[in-house]
Amino acid sequence: MAADVSARTARIALFVGLAVLVAAPFIGLYPVFMMKALCFAIFACAFNLLLGFTGLLSFGHAAFFGASAYATGWLMRSAGLSPELGVLAGVAASALLGLVVGLVAIRRQGIYFAMITLALAQMIYFVWLQAPFTGGEDGLQGVPRGRLLGLLPLTSDVALYYVVAAVFVGTFLLIMRIVHSPFGQVLKAIRENEARAISLGYDVDRYKLLAFVLSAALAGLGGSMKALVLGFATLSDAHWSLSGEVILMSLLGGLGTFAGPVIGAFTIIGLQDYLADRAGSWVTVIIGVIFVICVVAFRRGFVGELLAWQQRRANYTAAHSVSKDKGP
């Protein structure tokens, strides 16, 4: 009974959420902000796939976000590629980078894995800093929006918004599919107890590598879209502080949940945006405070805490309905 109610409210909530997404430009939400937040939401979901579902903490994930932003930006600006090809190229670039980084880093676990990803990300950052095509500190400017499939011009913010929203929904569903597939189950097993997964005969390294590459590719999708939306790619897209922020987005929203990273991304991007013209230097402090609070008292994040509360309620109801049945 409780499960039915919850499934129904879930479906309603899902449709309402989608409705808001579809109607956003018409209910007064600023499309460019929404698009930016959706790009980072894609990034956070991709990161969550690696940390929340596979249990691997990558401290250099911004490297993939930045790589595809630069790749897409440069190809679209210099080679005049249409947006879907540009984005695909960007995703391919991040996937490739993810493969290289993954091959090196997967050999070690835990803190060492995190440190290797950080070191490799710094090296990649250095490459972006030096390479002339990125424009260094000035950034890669003037990325055109182009025409989707050569037909639909994306210069209108609203048109691009729907494209971005569609990509976001697609990514979200893809991640759900991955997690619920047999492959995803193995990933969860690895997160819970890697030694046992090995003893059951799974080639754990291959699974971890594949998860890493997938996560990198999807992170790249976020980066490519962002370059398209804002029209530039800069060093901030590959800086280690962004790697820290995406960890926070996932943590705040709820690791290992689906909607958690989305909520975390919207919250952090919204906060940064809101504070930029009010209290610039406090942004860092507030982000730091949120980090501390999350780690100490809010480790399950928004969605995680809500699910736990729901579970407690369900248990309570179940216990009480059982005792009622036991009556005369």
Partner: protein, 294 residues
């Protein structure tokens, strides 16, 4: 006489400068190694503690007229006390949880510290004068070395070796090491393990603060000085072996030298060479050059 195309004099000069930087790396990575080796916490806030130490020195001079020598003692005490507060209120709740959370917590603390100090002080930095006793420079023939930098090398080496000695060779150190390996047993012996842990974190913080005061006359005292340095210091600790005190000291010095040489031959890469080495070392010796895997 030329070595690799640069005159011997210049070469020696760069090596010496590298040694100066290396002694900073050694001191900072020492604090980090102590905290990780004994407490299992990856203290991302180490750079922030270093920065706060430098500011304590600056404020002591600027507001209260307390000179450098006072600061050398005051800063570690103040920051050590801060470390006690951090450990008691925050870190204590994370023992037994995945160590990644400790890393994230200290990362958050570093952000808070940087933001707050950016608000209080100028980002472009404050000047801190070299103490009178150590002013001037000595002409070594192949280069002119400011006396202060020579002092920094000597002081850091003394502190590093002193700390190593205490931890590895004294009874107190042995108790500390035992306490982190098997806290229950040590506690059964009547030793107050939580107190020890707290003091260890405070000690590591104090070391960072001391490095901050030593650094103040050389580089600008800015809120960003910690975050600029923390990633490199991490790399040093990881290369040296995250549990090994001696490893951090030797690696810090060694990396300072290598960085110094890189500045001569390929200066643009001097920021990155440490990471390249870190990746190579981690691939073949994951526990670091001198470490034992935890």
């Amino acid at each position: 006489m030329d070595i690799f195309g640069i005159p011997l004099q210049a070469f020696l000069g760069q090596l010496l400068l590298g040694l100066v930087n290396g002694s900073f790396y050694a001191m900072l990575s020492l604090g980090l190694a102590v905290i990780f080796g004994l407490l299992g916490i990856v203290n991302f806030a180490h750079g922030a503690l270093y920065m706060i130490g430098a500011y304590v020195g600056f404020v002591a001079l600027d507001r209260f007229g307390l000179n450098y020598w006072f600061a050398l003692i005051l800063a570690p005490l103040v920051v050590g006390a801060l470390g006690v507060v951090i450990e008691r209120t925050l870190l204590r709740r994370l023992y037994g949880v995945d160590p990644i959370y400790g890393l994230l917590l200290t990362f958050g603390l570093a952000l808070i510290a940087e933001g707050v100090f950016r608000y209080w002080f100028d980002v472009s930095g404050q000047s801190y004068p070299v103490p009178d006793l150590l002013q001037g420079a000595t002409n070594l023939g192949f280069m002119v070395l400011p006396n202060y930098r020579a002092w920094v090398v000597v002081a850091s080496l003394v502190v590093c070796l002193g700390t190593w000695f205490v931890i590895e060779r004294t009874r107190l150190g042995a108790t500390l090491r035992a306490g982190t390996e098997n806290p229950r047993l040590v506690q059964a012996f009547g030793i107050n393990v939580p107190l020890m842990v707290m003091l260890t974190y405070a000690g590591g913080a104090g070391l960072a603060a001391l490095a901050g005061v030593l650094a103040a006359p050389i580089i600008q005292v800015t809120p960003l000085m910690g975050s600029n340095l923390i990633i490199i210091v991490f790399a040093v600790v990881v290369i040296g072996g995250m549990g090994s005190i001696l490893g951090s000291i030797l690696t810090g010095l060694g990396l300072g030298l290598i960085e110094g040489l890189t500045k001569v031959f390929y200066p643009e890469a001097s920021n990155v060479v440490v990471f390249v080495i870190m990746v190579i070392v981690l691939m073949f010796r994951p526990a670091g050059l001198f470490g034992k895997e935890r």
